[in-house]
């Protein structure tokens, strides 16, 4: 069973319905939330959203990779990656409906 994809527009619609701002302003605020989180991460800071999860930036060192098609070795440069750790509340809610410990 394939599922639906939720986008910014759906988040803006939810804000519009819950808070009663205009659709335009609701969309702007969704954007502002994502921008604030992004800016913080770009500064190298972590972002913790209680009962949802935390985003942190990890520095990866240089390593030798391999082109899987040609087998040629290529250096993978040091880079920063974003790691999301879901909170227990989120993990539990995602498993709520499923039968834990049974078939």
């Amino acid at each position: 069973m394939e599922n639906t994809t939720i986008t910014r527009a759906d988040l803006a619609e939810a804000v519009y319905e819950e808070v009663g701002l205009s659709r335009n302003e609701s969309a702007e605020l969704v954007e502002a939330v994502l921008d604030e989180i992004s800016d913080e991460l770009v500064k190298g800071e972590n972002v913790k959203i209680s009962s949802f999860g935390s985003f942190s930036v990890r520095e990866k060192g240089e390593r030798i990779g391999r082109n899987p098609k040609t087998g040629v070795e290529v250096p993978i440069l040091p880079r920063k990656v974003l790691v999301f750790r879901a909170s227990h509340v989120l993990k539990d809610r995602i498993n709520e409906g499923t039968e834990q410990g049974t078939e």
């Binding site: 599922n3 939720i6 502002a32 604030e36 999860g53 990656v81 974003l82 999301f84 809610r93 995602i94």
Partner: protein, 105 residues
């Protein structure tokens, strides 16, 4: 930055909004993402990243200390993949377009 600091900052940028409304906005966004994941839906926020749910089949695990076999139930795990725009910004790569205009992959 914590959720309350995020709320604080947004409130400062939007002095025409009540603090309780800003709280509600932030809570609504994360609640909406959570509910989508609970339904098994995917949340795609271009330039930022995508949340999805991965299924893990039930398996026989092992207690690493005793070597004893233990059944591990099937479960669903939330997963996040960083979007192209944010990944480039993290690595100081020039993004000549605002993140939300970027193509996803």
């Amino acid at each position: 930055m914590t959720k309350s600091e995020l709320i604080q900052r947004l409130a400062e940028q939007n002095p025409h909004l009540y603090l309780r409304d800003v709280e509600k906005i932030v809570d609504t966004i994360f609640e909406e993402i959570t509910e989508a994941l609970v339904r098994g839906d995917r949340v795609e926020l271009r330039g930022f990243g995508a949340f999805s749910v991965k299924h893990r089949e039930a398996r026989i695990g092992r207690n690493p200390r005793t070597g004893e076999s233990v059944p591990v139930a099937a479960k669903r795990l939330p997963f996040f993949k960083t979007g192209k725009g944010l990944r480039e910004r993290l690595n100081d790569e020039p993004t000549d377009m605002p993140p939300k205009e970027d193509s996803w992959y």
